[in-house]
Symmetry: C2
Subunit: 305 residues, 2 copies
């Protein structure tokens, strides 16, 4: 039985822009958040409190958080990989913080330079401090359906991290197909492992369209009752592991799917297309959203006829 | 219950190339068919016997049919809109012919300049003559999920054409979302109408990726037991109704999905990627297949490391 309402967590400003090569100014990021809010987004991953040495695109995290216009009913989350990041984040009053683990041992070692177990040990005080500050903590389980270094990732590897995250008090787990290799059955199997330990509302899917499978994967997860998904406006983000390939699933494509299924999102597709066109212009590349391309072509045809 | 085997009808050489702006030579079309056969394609829509005045890209239909290397176990189909086209086609020994109707009255009038009922009357002698020559006839029901002129198309409009096609003896119906606006429930509802009148093996889905929904639609149709789908190598075809938008679903993306689901296709994905890269080079545009882009990027990375 599919849900009749789905929440999309808009990750374009953080996960999306972080992987875009073109530097984007704080004013443009703030404007993007404003436009996303105007389109109805109620969960926005705004920025990341990481070392600017590693992620220069997010060096303006505090400035962006200070500049966005806060609206009632909107939850603003930020990525905080460690206590130092959390402390900097807390000063900017986010509603939620995100920690980022991996289901693949090889990815954990290559990406954050420690084992999965060590990464959970590092996150434990972050979760504790976030809770002490009254914030919710989301845990992203990256490479849950495949890893650029080790290849296949088994469902029990996903479950092991989910259990580890639960043990340190993480409130919500997002199962992420970071390299977009997953297909619907694999997606269901991974999410089912998370659902053994977390309630439906606290498990989300994060899919990439690298192999074109993201919407099919979301459709399969809806059949499990999953009703929270990460999406990225205009498909911002590309794929850092396959140059020229598509990355995060585009918010517009997912909204088109969900509305077609009669599932409410609270989002205004036309305004999302506007927001996507805006940020695509800023980063200087065409939108990766197929629905947005089609809708923009339809608008252009209507305007010229 | 999903099928454990799916047949993909490769429509790139006909439906795909017909909508590509760049003229493609007969030798390149013949080479494309050869490469598709090498990749395991067993159903190929090769060309179209239409007036070269309307479709100059298909003026070499007889030359292409004469030039392809016929292989045992492969079915070669051609589009024949009328008796004149059928007569020309018969001389080239196809295994199957395709007639092309519309579920939308507005589309029928604008595209083939007659009502739906008139189009079926015109097809009746084509079907009869094709059967007399021992050929199977497939009927394509275009605009089954939406129309560029009338907008919405209802399932009973689809059923009406399906019934009309059955009445004139069409052996197989393909339900086509010509403009790619459909989503999974709409796709299921349209296919279900066809399944009221044709057995499972004689109903196929033809989806376009204009709004990014094709794979989700195919996934939903698999749940009905449908196991024949049209696909186009490299997503050849674009979308004639929305400039710059994506058209036919890419064979490579569908094969990636199906193999991920454990569904056999008899196709070799790597060789399909090669065939897609070949024809993309010929038409001078990047592949529209996301899976192909990702696999080509992975190959490039492997070659440079």
């Amino acid at each position: 039985m599919k849900p009749d309402r789905v929440t999309l967590v808009e990750v374009g400003p953080r996960d999306g822009l972080q992987n875009e090569a073109a530097p984007v100014g704080a004013a443009e990021k703030i404007e993007l958040v404003r436009r996303l809010q105007d389109a109805g987004c109620r969960e926005i991953e705004v920025t990341s409190f990481v070392s600017p040495k590693w992620v220069p695109q997010m060096a303006d995290a505090a400035q962006v958080m200070a500049g966005i216009e806060r609206r009632a009913g909107v939850r603003y989350s930020v990525l905080t990989p460690n206590l130092k990041g959390l402390e900097a984040a807390l000063a900017t009053r986010p509603d939620e913080v995100v920690v980022f683990g991996a289901a693949s041992e090889a990815f954990s070692r290559r990406n954050i330079n420690c084992s999965i177990a060590e990464s959970l040990e590092r996150f434990a005080p972050v979760v504790e401090a976030a809770h002490a500050a009254g914030l919710k903590v989301r845990g992203a389980v990256s490479c849950a359906l495949g890893c650029p270094y080790q290849g296949e990732v088994r469902p029990d590897e996903v479950e092991r991290v989910v259990v580890g995250m639960k043990a340190i008090g993480v409130d919500h787990v997002g199962i992420a197909d970071t390299i977009g290799v997953g297909t619907p059955l694999a997606a269901q199997r991974a999410l089912e492992r998370a659902l053994k330990h977390y309630p439906l509302a606290e498990v989300s899917g994060h899919f990439h369209d690298t192999y074109g499978q993201a919407l099919a994967n979301i459709l399969a997860c809806l059949d499990l009752g999953v009703h929270v998904f990460d999406t990225s406006i205009a498909g911002l983000g590309g794929c850092p592991y396959a140059k020229g390939a598509t990355g995060n699933v585009a918010t517009e494509d997912v909204v088109y799917l969900l509305h077609g299924l009669g599932i409410a999102t609270g989002l205004d597709l036309d305004r999302l297309v506007d927001a996507g066109a805006y940020i695509s212009g800023v980063v200087g590349r065409p939108t990766a959203s197929r629905a947005a391309r089609a809708l923009l072509a339809r608008r252009a045809a209507a305007a010229s006829s």
